[in-house]
Symmetry: C2
Subunit: 258 residues, 2 copies
């Protein structure tokens, strides 16, 4: 599909999401309200926040009792020990600590700050508002697949679904949108073996297609109060794929930056 534009359309017609709600249904309605008819090959990019909220992943810090290890890490990072406990309980390993910084390998396999636990745009049902935190979805790939299947049933199309978050990076400032799970979206597009303009074989080019898409979808969503938790993508230049999310993660033994 060469030369067609890649179009990110912000979908602003979703309600505030409550635990237990059916995201597939809500997304179906939101697309109707935006007059968007899905086509095969389209991709729906969803912020982690509404998936986590629908799945009831809210935790109030007053229910968390910090372990000895959490207390130690809290001293280094100057974070609330209860929050540190929550972060460690969502992590496989600590990667770096410093004042105000706690970078971990999340249980889901990727490396990020604070295990992706979030405090903005979060509000619980009781207690101190400041104490509510939102964990990442338990299994974002399963969440994406479920939404994809729901959309396939109601709209009779094969689309990709990707759940994204914003992560900091080594070496550069600022956060970028990045995939934390998907269904139907190719994590890596392997160009090795293809020829360049002058018939020289490309040696090492593997394109992180899902993350490239996640970055601009995140740009369209914004971060503060834009109320755009969903972005519709048309014109993705590669075929949908059912390769597992795991393929975007570099194995520990091959990673020079842990």
């Amino acid at each position: 599909m060469p030369h067609q534009p890649l179009i990110f359309t912000p979908i602003h017609t979703l309600p505030l999401i409550e635990p237990g709600q059916d995201l597939g249904e809500i997304i179906h309605q939101a697309l109707l309200d935006c007059a968007i008819t899905l086509e095969n090959g389209d991709i729906l990019v969803i912020t982690q926040k509404i998936v986590s909220k629908a799945e009831g992943r809210l935790v109030n810090l007053s229910t968390v009792k910090p372990s000895q290890r959490a207390l130690e890490v809290a001293t280094i990072t100057q974070k609330d020990p209860r929050l540190v406990e929550l972060i460690l309980s969502e992590s496989n390993a600590i990667i770096r600590t410093r004042e105000n910084t706690l970078i971990v390998e999340h249980k889901l396999g990727f490396i990020c700050a604070n295990a992706g636990i979030d405090h903005s745009n979060v509000q619980g049902k009781w207690g101190n508002e400041e104490d509510w935190y939102l964990l990442l979805p338990q299994d974002p790939n399963a969440s994406a697949l479920k939404i994809r299947q729901s959309v396939a049933e109601t709209e009779h199309v094969n689309v990709g679904v990707m759940i994204i978050d914003s992560h900091g990076r080594a070496w550069r400032k600022g956060t970028v949108g990045i995939s934390i799970g998907f269904s139907g979206v190719p994590g890596i597009v392997d160009m090795r073996g293809k020829e360049d303009l002058f018939h020289y074989h490309l040696k090492v080019t593997q394109i992180a297609a899902a993350d490239e898409l996640a970055a601009s979808a995140s740009l369209v969503m914004g971060q503060a109060d834009e109320l755009i938790p969903l972005v519709h993508v048309r014109g993705f230049p590669y075929p949908l794929s059912d390769a597992p999310f795991q393929e975007v993660l570099r194995e520990k033994k091959d990673d020079l930056f842990r």
Copy 2:
């Protein structure tokens, strides 16, 4: 500008670029040929390759004499010592070495593999085709500014211009499009102090807007032989900015992953 789509249009109407050519003029013609009329706030994303080619940044390895240090690094990395010499001459420091891997801090300040020196889609005028390599532009910010000014003169609009490359990443496989220089594009959009939905102040969110844009522009360009060195972007959700590129780079003292 809320709720408007973000649109990446691949521009396929550029000729193969030769050293000494005026990119501003070529881009002007290519946009005409694609029937695109620039508007204020649009962004032109350009692959590093055509900028480097226009600037004559081709080097033939047969002209390079490896230093002792290059020979040592070549032994570790199993790369051609002349190529290693070229990489080191473009770098401030070596960050990591391993077989097949040489990650450096480029003279331009960012960290990347092989100092961004490229071999695909490169062809020289003489000698062995395999020996031609392409360095990054000498000063991508200046290159971007020059193209921006040329466009402003001919089309009487204020657009952003960004030059991108594809870089590997810590922790994750695959390359993503990333800015190596720009003019008019905000590298970082600072959301700190803004309020979220529930009037909780966002604490740390700085959005790497230029790199988020670069990622999807790169997706549209492809990597192998697509002949799309330029992408036109409409609907970028932030105002253009004249902050320097340098602001996207994390200072060494703040970087936990060197």
